[in-house]
């Protein structure tokens, strides 16, 4: 059910730019940031429905960012997007409360399906 808000957090600027366009093309409201700090600041001001979070980022990494997000106590679901090199971290993130994880490179349809599933879980929990 497109229309809900998605926050993309990835240090790859071109990737976030492209992925934003693709998700917007599919009807989502997308905000893209390129670091964990930016993500926290953005979420504090504009909470979203689903967060797509990269794990390996300079500065605050994905796990730390996730912990900070969980501290905010937002009504949101987090999808982990990892470059495969850190499956263990992805699993750890799930233990911390992330909904699921995806490995790069992934098809847009695959990501959309996961976002939808995360949204469904969130709404199903209401």
């Amino acid at each position: 059910m497109p229309g809900f808000r998605v926050l993309l957090v990835d240090d790859e600027i071109i990737f976030t730019k492209n992925m934003s366009k693709l998700l917007k093309n599919r009807g989502y409201t997308v905000t893209a940031v390129n670091s964990g700090d930016e993500a926290i600041r953005e979420l504090e001001q504009n909470p979203v429905d689903v967060i797509v979070l990269d794990l390996k980022m300079p500065g605050m990494d994905g796990i730390t960012t996730l912990k900070e997000i969980m501290k905010l106590g937002l009504f949101t679901e987090t999808l982990i997007l990892t470059g495969h090199g850190s499956i263990d971290s992805a699993l750890e993130a799930m233990k911390l409360g992330a909904y699921d994880y995806l490995t790069k490179p992934c098809e847009i349809d695959e990501l959309v399906a996961k976002i939808e599933a995360a949204w469904a879980k969130k709404t199903g929990n209401l």
């Binding site: 790859e12 693709l22 790069k104 098809e107």
Partner: protein, 599 residues
Amino acid sequence: MTKESPISHNGTEPAEAPDVAVQRQATYARLFWRFVWLTILCSLVPLLLVGWGINLHYTRFARERMLNFFQNQVEDHRRIIAQFLNEHTSKLQLIARTHDRDQLIEPGALQTVFELFNQDVRSLTDLSVIGDHGYHLAYVGSYDLWSRNYSKEFWFTQVMEKGLYISDMFMGFRKEPHFIIAVTHSNGDKKWILRATIHTESFRSLVENVRIGGTGEVYLLNTESVYQTNPRSNAAIMDTSSYPMEPYHEGIRIRLLENLKNAQGLDRPSQIACQAWLKNPRWLLVVQQDHDEAFADVNHANTWTLVFLLLSAASILVVTVFITRHMITVIKRRDTEADRLNQQLLQAGKLASIGELSAGVAHEINNPLAIILTERQLLLDAAKHAPIADSEFQEQFSDSMNQIDLQVQRCKRITQNLLRFSRRTQSMIETVDLNAFIQEVVDLLEREARSSGIKFFSEPDPGLPPVSSDPSQLQQVFLNLITNAIDAHDGKPYGSIRICTRADGERQTAIVKVADSGSGITPENLNRIFDPFFTTKAVGKGTGLGLSICFSIVKRLGGSLTVQSEVGKGTEFTIQLPYTPPKELQDSLSAKRTPITAA
């Protein structure tokens, strides 16, 4: 049947460069000879020294004993002879002093004295009283000497001068060897002589009856080297001896006589002689024996000592060579084992390094791939909103998009393999029935194999217990190995793959062998097949990571993967998998299972 190559635990032979092998052989040879020489030095030298010492000691002891024997013989005989002569001299002197001449010449008186002398042993041949004119005054004996005048005889002069005279052996009027003891006494102005002729045989028996070995003899010589008794050698009493005479000396002397001649002028062997002078008469008592016979015991002992030493040395030499060879074989085996372990460490280290590198590379490649994929999707989205009018371009665009997707997926597979190789995947330890598990994998691949004319032969060990391991990773291992086995028959119309399992209860290990009848692997490739990215398959058909991943997985599960191969006959992979995974793997899994609560 594949020929077994000396393949190490990690599947690679500790291949040595030829010069290294030659150097190592030279080292072994040096080591061999060093061991041999050292052992010989440490065992033979003490043996020879001890043998030589004992032999020297024994030789000296035996020699001294023999010389003591000779000395004792000489001493005893000198004493006996001297005692014999002294006894008879004393008796004659006693008779001369206690009897008047006229008493002795009375009929029967001298006969009585004579009989008293010979009462126990016959020691006198005859006894006579001779006046200062040289004629007999009385005579008892068996020779016809009554009318003989002795005033011109050498002994007569001597006894008249000295009062006592013991002669050498001489022939005299009786023309046979004999010697006399004569004493003088005076009754007023009448000086007379009491003369006794010693019974030659009785006297000689004191000396000649002694037997020393086969060549030993005892004899008496006068100062002119004339035999006073019969020697055993080829000579007779009164003959002149070739014995090298020495001037009178006190005590006993031992001499080694060489270059002696017998009576026939022939060479005699070296003699050991022990000599002592009698004071009166001046006779030389000689105890003599062939040197070789005298020291036969010593020579015998020397010979046997030499034989014993030679045999001992030969035994030591043989045992040394045997033991050293065995030691070198053990050292070679240990070296090979060490090489194998080094190779294993090297391979493990290489794989670990490459694993780390691979994980980093995979991650870095995945990001651009993700971007490429999003760019492609954007183009597709754009094309959807603004369709391309030119059909040819549309077709070209569509092909390019598909090709981008195809190549991205190919890159993705490579990075996924790299990540698997680097073990960035999660293990799940479960109980696995290997026989059933392998059969499932075989079932998966059997159709493909059958289409290539390849048959499977399974030989499961029914006694193989279930193992605790990671089924998903094991599946990958068996899939890789069996797929490789199928691919190994490329170009062959038919073939077979034999899979057998076996339980090694002693080592608590399951053994799985996957053998194919394919083309085999050349020795140079055999050393590299576990190296990442090494492949003999065509470009695009294999990443060269399959066996590296298998090796990596099996090693992580605590086992080993080895290979034997012969070109043209086939290849056999052997997996040894412990019934239970290593403790570190279990510990790491336990840690991961511990719930992590969000702060």
